[in-house]
């Protein structure tokens, strides 16, 4: 296409994109215009007479063609020019940036690797692109994986563990500050996987920076935009933390090309041992398959999981058939405060459900009468001795709160606000249960807690009588995938169990789910009654809030239709509470990367809070890093001055394997230790995911900076387009365009068209 344009218009499209039109007439333009008008008038009059018998439409058409031809000739006589800036020969520098990451090893360019295709273009002075550029520019070659010029591109190993494409462009421009840089030519497959770095700027921010510098970037896409055959574990969702004895859900997305309809096993391995597997039948070619696997975690510590699909014959990339995950299994006691307003079976069955779970401690505060409490599951005689906590430090010691049937007026305003802060600031969980004094019926509709709850409440007048309504639970699609509702061992069994549970009752007039809420269970009244939210959750600040609208979920344990050995109720409660506390931060919250490459600096962050969970500056924070060999090193943290309570540190691991990180903060007399975290040092494999050539980023990079994207087979066109770069040392050129072939083609068409029309009408 470019060649056709260049043939017709004499110059590259880049020239027209950069330049402005002007005229350099040899004789005054007004004279040319006047002559053109006279000639056009004479020609038109002559034509009018000659075509006297023709229709008005014909005469008008012929006139227009003739006037057009005369106008075009007049424009040529004015000597039109394209005014454009051009690089001055041998006075400018062009940087060629070679992507030397591992994904360039993929052999998808007519059987050759991307690296060889790139080297063909820019592997040495005699390579096609460098030779073309070298005719006019000083060419300097760089690579993406490291700073500094590349003396001999042919010796590149193409072993970059990650590609930070935009960062590399910026780095090259930085290195050439002060030099007349006409442009940067990027040869890449378009991968950019450096955005996961802690504190790394966003793609948009980096593009804005590059745009502001005004140096055009010309990108050359290397590799195939679509693989013939490949299977890729495209996405793996797994929680970072899990409590011991949980069953962790792994949501896996598998992309494939060329394997539509095939059935293959997906396997989860833990340190080489298969811990779960499932057959997956791929949908149509190119479509993604979703798989859910369940892995029990009976032992504490760091679990190293590999989710993989066996490499199939003919696959273009084998490294992307697996993904890795590190899950920290914690053996800890999560204290949950259950506050209840009256003795009712809910307490008994909730406690029974949780009592066998060594990771959960349900501390129950039951108001058995006015100003009289029964405390169950407390650690000592002082815990909750004065009833519901009155200070943040007391309340925030728990990880979740279960709010039973207890009216809002039981709490002071401060206590209600504290509960809201418990969720939003401390990041704790809240489970609100249905009951005669719950939700709007308990007077919560006009309190701070109304904002927390995921379900709308309609204020109820005190005179309204409470009527129990029977509701049958219906699991929503979101519910069937939610960890709390996994009461059986397979997707089909889970769906079947939720379909067959006996009905419960509610006395609460629960409204719709809020906009940001997710409904897990709906309640149906009667055979074909309306559905309303029964179990829903929403995030509120840092924490999570669950609302269960039934007053007697214990019937799922006690009901005559429930088998004696059925564990639905028990699992539901344990999993609801485990889910609520799963991401609740400690006072010292380490923020660690899952993985780091060998030799890469591992950036550690930690948030430190006091007992009231207010962010604490001025603490002395350090981490003990224990390498796989058992060697320990203490890494001190520095306070990140611009962020309250945040501290950062880094270390460079000297061996591969799992490193345990124990963060400790000392503030005054207060010493707090965080739960151990884990960082796995391993060769990164990010490069092989989404490894088809990604044109989108290349096109965006080029368009944002004023450059252009090229296919590899047209890469040498860069040398012809970069001439018109406004960057570097330039001179203004006025290029004649009156002699463009397209002008003669147009003139011929106008005159020939008039002649053909006249002949057709039998005119002279």
């Amino acid at each position: 296409m470019d060649a056709l344009v260049e043939f017709l218009f004499k110059y590259r499209p880049a020239a027209f994109a950069r330049g402005v039109l002007g005229v350099d007439p040899l004789i005054p333009a007004w004279l040319v215009a006047a002559a053109a008008v006279v000639i056009a008038a004479l020609g038109g009059w002559t034509l009018w007479r000659a075509a006297g018998s023709a229709s008005l439409r014909t005469r008008a058409g012929l006139g227009a063609l003739r006037v057009g031809a005369i106008a075009l000739l007049a424009w040529c006589l004015c000597r039109p020019v394209l005014v454009v800036a051009e690089s001055i020969d041998q006075r400018n520098v062009v940087a060629v940036l070679l992507d030397d990451s591992r994904s360039m090893r993929i052999a998808d360019v007519n059987g050759a690797s991307r690296a060889s295709a790139a080297l063909h273009l820019a592997g040495g002075p005699d390579s096609a692109l460098l030779r073309a550029l070298g005719a006019r520019y000083q060419v300097r070659v760089y690579r993406t994986s490291a700073a500094g010029r590349v003396a001999n591109a042919g010796s590149l190993a193409f072993d970059g563990a990650r590609t930070r494409l935009l960062g590399a462009v910026a780095r090259v421009e930085d290195e050439l500050v002060g030099a007349p840089l006409a442009g940067v030519v990027v040869l890449s497959d378009g991968a950019d996987n450096g955005g996961r770095d802690v504190g790394a700027p966003s793609t948009q921010d980096q593009l804005s920076t590059l745009r502001a510098r005004g140096v055009p970037v010309y990108t050359v896409g290397i590799g195939s935009a679509r693989f013939g055959k490949d299977i890729e574990v495209a996405q793996l969702e797994v929680p970072h933390h899990a409590l011991r004895n949980a069953t962790v859900l792994l949501d896996v997305q598998i992309a494939q090309r060329g394997f539509g309809g095939a059935t293959l096993p997906v396997v989860v391995e833990d340190s080489g041992r298969v811990v779960a597997s499932q057959q997956v039948t791929f949908p149509r070619d190119g479509e993604v398959a979703s798989v859910r696997l369940r892995v029990p975690v009976p032992e504490p510590g760091a679990r190293m999981w590999r989710v993989r699909v066996a490499v199939q014959p003919g696959e273009e990339v084998s490294e992307n058939n697996e993904r890795r995950a590190v899950v920290t299994v914690q053996d800890r006691h999560e204290k949950v405060l259950y506050v209840e307003g009256e003795p009712r079976p809910e307490i008994k069955f909730a406690r029974r459900a949780v009592e066998g779970d060594a990771q959960l401690q349900l501390v129950t505060l039951l108001r058995s009468a006015k100003d009289k409490y029964l405390r169950l599951g407390v650690d000592d005689s002082l815990e909750l001795v004065n009833g519901f906590p009155t200070t943040r430090a007391q309340l925030f010691g728990y990880r979740a709160i279960v709010l039973g049937s207890i009216e809002a007026s039981f709490f002071t305003g401060d206590q209600l606000r504290m509960m809201a802060d418990f969720v939003s600031e401390r990041g704790g969980g809240l489970l609100a249960l249905g009951g005669r004094a719950s939700f709007a019926e308990g007077g919560f509709a006009s309190t701070t807690l109304a904002d927390l709850l995921p379900i709308e409440m309609t204020p109820v007048s005190r005179g309204d009588s409470l009527r129990a309504t029977e509701i049958t639970a219906v699991a929503t699609p979101a519910g069937l995938r939610h960890p709390a509702l996994q009461v059986e061992g397979s997707d089909s069994a889970v769906a079947e169990r939720w379909r067959t549970l006996p009905p419960l009752t509610t006395v609460n007039a629960l409204g719709r789910a809020k906009a940001g809420a997710t409904v897990l269970l709906e309640g149906r009244t009667g055979e074909r009654g309306a559905l309303r939210p029964l179990l829903a959750f929403q995030r509120y600040g840092r924490g999570r809030v669950l609302a269960l609208g039934a007053q007697d979920d214990w019937l799922w344990q006690m009901h005559a239709d429930i088998a004696v050995d059925d564990s639905t109720h028990e699992r539901l409660w344990r999993q609801m509470l485990r889910w609520l506390v799963s991401d609740v931060p400690d006072r010292v919250e380490p923020l660690l990367p899952d993985e780091a490459g060998p030799g890469e600096a591992v950036v550690l962050r930690a948030i430190v809070r006091d007992s009231a969970f207010l962010k604490r500056n001025g603490a002395s924070v350090s981490a003990t890093v224990i390498s796989p060999s058992g060697a320990e090193q203490v890494v001190p943290f520095d306070w990140a001055v611009d962020r309250d309570g945040e501290y950062t540190a880094s270390f460079v691991p000297d061996t591969d394997g799992v490193h345990e990180v124990r963060v400790r903060a000392v503030a005054g007399r207060d010493t707090v230790k965080a739960a151990p975290g884990f960082v796995r040092v391993v060769e990164p494999i990010d490069e092989y995911f989404g490894a088809e050539r990604r044109d989108a980023l290349l096109a965006q990079l080029a368009s944002e900076t004023g450059g252009r994207r090229y296919e590899a087979d047209r890469a040498t066109d860069v040398a012809r387009d970069i001439v018109y770069s406004p960057s570097g040392s330039t001179q203004v050129r006025r290029l004649d365009i009156w002699d463009m072939p397209v002008v003669f083609v147009l003139l011929t068409m106008l005159l020939g068209g008039e002649w053909w029309w006249r002949r057709r009408r039998g005119l002279r």
Partner: protein, 249 residues
């Protein structure tokens, strides 16, 4: 003493006895015409368990003190605690009745006459295993034999243990300081027996048995002044504690 005089004396003694026995024989047991059962609405309902009494003739046994005892108790329960029980209606259900499983606390009167059909045997086992709690009351002396036999039939692996006042059940609502109590009529020293889930004292009690005691009677007559007030109070305190314990353990 002449024969005529002996005859007169015999008649004077025998006639009232005959009259009394006839009256008892013809007595309509309150359980024969019970009030309608309470409808489940999530609130606490007093459940009295019915059974075919062992040689009970027209005396159903399980309905002793019905319905006055429970009515009095429910009023007290609502008054002293934060509970909102159903007061106007109570229920009578058998261990084989599926409806029983909506109510996790059940009261059995006169277990000395307790019998179980196969369905009831299955029912009581499931009730306890799922989390139900049973209060046995109103039995003494030789009644223990039948009670223990039936308990062992239903729960051969759950050992009956004698409770003392240190058990948390006696501190679940009222702090009961002593279990020194006597049967309302026979003056027998009361004993309190229980059985732990899985025979593990760290786990919950699945039942309590008021042997040589009759807290139902204490509660039934509490508005008549027939029985000593201090003991009646203790009976109420025990009953409240049993219910609070049962709903929380």
């Amino acid at each position: 003493m002449t024969r005529r005089r002996w005859t007169l004396i015999t008649l004077l003694v025998a006639l009232p006895a005959l009259a009394l026995s006839a009256q008892r024989f013809n007595r309509v047991s309150p359980g024969e015409h019970p009030n309608p059962n309470a409808k489940y609405d999530g609130r606490f309902v007093f459940i009295r368990v019915k059974f075919e009494p062992l040689g009970g003739l027209r005396d159903l046994k399980w309905d002793h003190d019905y319905p006055v005892a429970e009515t009095h108790f429910l009023k007290i329960l609502e008054e002293v605690s934060s509970m909102h029980p159903q007061i106007a209606e109570t229920s009578i259900l058998g261990f084989g009745d599926p409806e029983l499983f909506k109510f996790p606390v059940a009261y059995v009167s006169e277990p000395g006459f307790w019998t179980m059909s196969p369905a009831e045997l299955t029912g009581v086992r499931a009730y306890v295993q799922k989390g139900g709690f049973i209060i046995f009351d109103d039995f003494s002396t030789r009644h223990w034999i039948n009670f223990e036999e039936k308990w062992r039939t239903a729960f051969p692996n759950l050992t009956l243990v004698k409770l003392d006042v240190s058990h948390p059940m006696f501190d679940s609502f009222y702090h009961i300081k002593t279990l020194d109590m006597t049967h309302p009529y026979f003056g027998l020293k009361s004993e309190f027996w229980g059985a732990y889930e899985d025979n593990d004292p760290k786990k919950r009690l699945v039942m309590v048995a008021n042997y040589n005691n009759d807290i139902g009677d204490y509660m039934e007559w509490s508005d008549q002044g027939l029985l000593p007030v201090p003991l009646t109070n203790e009976a109420y305190k025990l009953a409240v504690n049993y219910v609070v314990y049962a709903l929380t353990h």
